[in-house]
Symmetry: D2
Amino acid sequence: MRFFSDNAAAVCPEVFAALGKVNQLDTAYDGDKWSKSLDGAFSDLFGTEVRALWVPTGTAANSLALAALCPPYGGVVCHRDAHINVDECGAPEFYTHGAKLLVGDGEGSKLTPDAIRAVIDPIRPDVHQVQPHAISITNATEYGLAYTPDEVAAIGALAKERKLGLHMDGARFANAVAHLGCHPGDVTWRAGVDALSFGFVKNGGMSAEMLVFFRTELADATLYRRKRAGLLFSKGRYLAAQVLALLEDDLWLRNGRAANAGAALLARAAGDRLVHPVQANEVFLKVSAAEAASLRALGFDFYDWGVGEARLVISWDQSEDAIRPLADAIAAL
Amino acid sequence: MRFFSDNAAAVCPEVFAALGKVNQLDTAYDGDKWSKSLDGAFSDLFGTEVRALWVPTGTAANSLALAALCPPYGGVVCHRDAHINVDECGAPEFYTHGAKLLVGDGEGSKLTPDAIRAVIDPIRPDVHQVQPHAISITNATEYGLAYTPDEVAAIGALAKERKLGLHMDGARFANAVAHLGCHPGDVTWRAGVDALSFGFVKNGGMSAEMLVFFRTELADATLYRRKRAGLLFSKGRYLAAQVLALLEDDLWLRNGRAANAGAALLARAAGDRLVHPVQANEVFLKVSAAEAASLRALGFDFYDWGVGEARLVISWDQSEDAIRPLADAIAAL
Amino acid sequence: MRFFSDNAAAVCPEVFAALGKVNQLDTAYDGDKWSKSLDGAFSDLFGTEVRALWVPTGTAANSLALAALCPPYGGVVCHRDAHINVDECGAPEFYTHGAKLLVGDGEGSKLTPDAIRAVIDPIRPDVHQVQPHAISITNATEYGLAYTPDEVAAIGALAKERKLGLHMDGARFANAVAHLGCHPGDVTWRAGVDALSFGFVKNGGMSAEMLVFFRTELADATLYRRKRAGLLFSKGRYLAAQVLALLEDDLWLRNGRAANAGAALLARAAGDRLVHPVQANEVFLKVSAAEAASLRALGFDFYDWGVGEARLVISWDQSEDAIRPLADAIAAL
Amino acid sequence: MRFFSDNAAAVCPEVFAALGKVNQLDTAYDGDKWSKSLDGAFSDLFGTEVRALWVPTGTAANSLALAALCPPYGGVVCHRDAHINVDECGAPEFYTHGAKLLVGDGEGSKLTPDAIRAVIDPIRPDVHQVQPHAISITNATEYGLAYTPDEVAAIGALAKERKLGLHMDGARFANAVAHLGCHPGDVTWRAGVDALSFGFVKNGGMSAEMLVFFRTELADATLYRRKRAGLLFSKGRYLAAQVLALLEDDLWLRNGRAANAGAALLARAAGDRLVHPVQANEVFLKVSAAEAASLRALGFDFYDWGVGEARLVISWDQSEDAIRPLADAIAAL
């Protein structure tokens, strides 16, 4: 069994079925009725008017969001471990035309207002230094922690005070919301988030993520940037369909809960081995090389995470039953 | 019946079936066996060693190719009507970091060595003027004409003489090859083409195009550019599967022939109304506004193309039987 | 005698003297009193509040202006012959991060509202095509014609109607104003110009041009772009001093008039040989190769301008007496 | 007396005189004989064939060098305190089209092979992470330390081993060489440096720095980048003249020694207050706010450098006699 990443999981059946339903000639690009329904569908979901654009990858969503929030000569505060900083090959720099990531620190890849201030307060307000224009946080974080609505709101208040945009990388937004049990608006626009990369690929989708603008005026220019980046699919209905299927009856949330449940099972088995609290669908374990090898010998695959640690990510389709053998193996280490 | 564009057609059943076959957890990005087989599959197809990368759109393929062939301070010669010049919202400029398109002219969107010389010969070889670094041609052209192997080879020879890269935008490469009846290598690498955007979306695919490098050393840097542009799908196997399905038993070529056959049927009906010879799957007609309205009244939809002209594009799944009513209506105008 | 270009002339004595006067330790960058006085000095000159930034070259001034007026995904309408299009090695594309120059035509490198409409009206207002965001005109033009206040105002009205920014490349602004005999405000902000590249290097300066913003809110971001482009000199006072010396007692205008007078002298001698009316300090002549050779044999140097034409540019320090031999030689051809 | 920065000092008389000598009409851009002589002059100075381009600022020199050494999708290792990282408003990112600065640590802003390895060794060699392509070091460093030839050679060996380019920011190269007493080639090309930003503005110049390529093949593309950045002055001879005047009779070196001597005088007076060894012309002192105020009350101006520290920079024209009162005041604190 593979626990490398939820981004390699299968596509869930409802999504697959939805692809079939749109498989006839229709209007190209985002002119089809499914694509056109997305603004409304996400406005309903979030309880406020939003603009919602499909894009194929989380990197694209993040980068377009940052380009909307930060000029080429500006900076974006993010955590040192942020995906945008370490795993996107400079995509934010490409899309923003060279804006600078200003990195801060915090336990479990989580930023706080203090951590952000530690980054931006020393910046002299002169033309020699890159000035901050936006903040980007990841929810759930790269280490599987969820920002609560209050935590986001504290960052949102700082962003507002300093006139900074606020972006949330929600590659695992479903897992975060499933954990928090809050309304998706509570942890986004009500807390000051301007733009959300809402991940669906890790949550049962095939090739569609959503870029949701709570500051709706940011969307129009982004439509040009999306096209200009080669991201405007001519058969866009196949992206819209994936997302709409995941919205239906809160499938996105159920998938998120399912993955979280698997991680929780492992967390209980892991006990003191946990490097971080398990709040979403990622489990970081302290394991020796020998222990890691013994788990692999049992058929469980995962990434080492530095020396003496391992990362296990649970996907939407890995049921508790399926995971139990791994939990037992961890407990038995 | 709609004849707006082949880019809005349905996905062909073999492609759909292929998506199902890869629908289980596998290695992410392009680490799956299907993605890994693409270099080999396209090397076989072209009869030479190539590097073949999936990308989701033709705009992305074109832009990555140009970025591989032209530095930011250089220029790319293309036809004034080229898709890269008029329909990609500046994507080539984005990916190349501001290279300049140097536009030439020619009947039916076709460039010739003379037309290219007319663009580049007046450029002073000094640092004040943008120097040409590449040529981009579209086959079949935006007006549905096919460059023959000899015509490409003449441009290829000029490119070599002037040390320019040569890119082919093959959004309708299948239609061109189906028309030419040649080996796909004859009209590409054997004629001096360095990089080909090989279109599959307009030919029965869903969301996968191929960027094929005949100068294989260009591929490595492009892998970074692809990631950096947010184009590296985590579930890349669903793109590879589409393309492999279209390669199997030359489905891509059969689909191309089918669309061409429909266009040929219309061409015969259109007679003197043809604006350009019909060699691929696009038909440009002289029609008055009243005539266009009468066709639309019969249920045929298409784009006006300037004043007094109409464009009709035939898709892979529009059979001759299905098209005959339109042919009859055109003949009866 | 050399008539290649006014950009190669000597620095005028008042400018040189001014350099000496600032030659002591002072505040770096643009914090010195001379640099700080520029906003006021140019506001006085133009009769309205402006922001005025020194930059070292006209290419830098033009490119920064365009970056302030046009986003990366937008377009700038300019004449096919515009310096920004043919003589700046893609600098506008570099500074704007890939915006597209949308070229129009017109006699003597002059755009008109109709010529501009011919460029922008066919652009579909969709995300596939680069949308115009600004217009750039050159005054005096690359062929030495001056736009009158009315001509600029007509373009300014169109710009306003279409919500486009308006930039004026004034590499030879002094020559234009000297010819027009108008207030410098008449042909700029009163006519709708948002940003002016005000040339001083061709007019007796050494290394300082001014970027003047009539839409003052554009200046702040430009200060960052200027630094980011490596254009913020640490010893900025030597640039400010040059410009202030040229403003004093309208030296800039006197220098412009002097160069124009020389050109007028040649124009009278040239008669029917003139390719364009001579309104500034450039003279374009029809001359055969043999005639050009005979002039050169007499010691007059200049550029051929295509086949059968020659360009002669008069500098601020070429007196009528000094030019008379050339005038005589032309008359005697 | 002001000790803010050597970048605000006066221009030295020899440089001023040289400006006068080139003040007649000549060939534009870098076509004049002075500009043309620079390759030879710097080849002689360094004892190897180089290409030497004038640029107006150190930021421009640094950014062009990095653009020559690193592709847009790559990274440049530098010290966290490097001028390119904290004082150029993102210029390296602008010129490289978004390359990433990969920051390392080290006492006194100095990198070592170990510090560089600590940055690059953890980078996974896959397309998700920005790969290092170059190293940039500053000599003398931002804290006034000089890299010795051996120290540079150790970094140069690592660069070669890892196939990384090596750039030296020599804004205070004169001060470093004056301190080291070595041949300028010993600390550059003989130690593996590919490109040097050779500072003259802080050393008595007005507006000219040199970009020196020891890997001469990097120069040709840089000529285009220089023009494209608006850095190609039409009256380039006034830049060349400054530099040539400073090369004559090793004036650059004498100016560097003079500034270093002043700093050494302060260093002896400062004793235990020194934050860093004083090797060039910068002195960092531990001083309380009250002590700083008392120095300022005596007429000495300088920057605070964080809490409890002050930075004093000595210029080429501040003689030991002129500095002695400050030295005495420091000793008397």
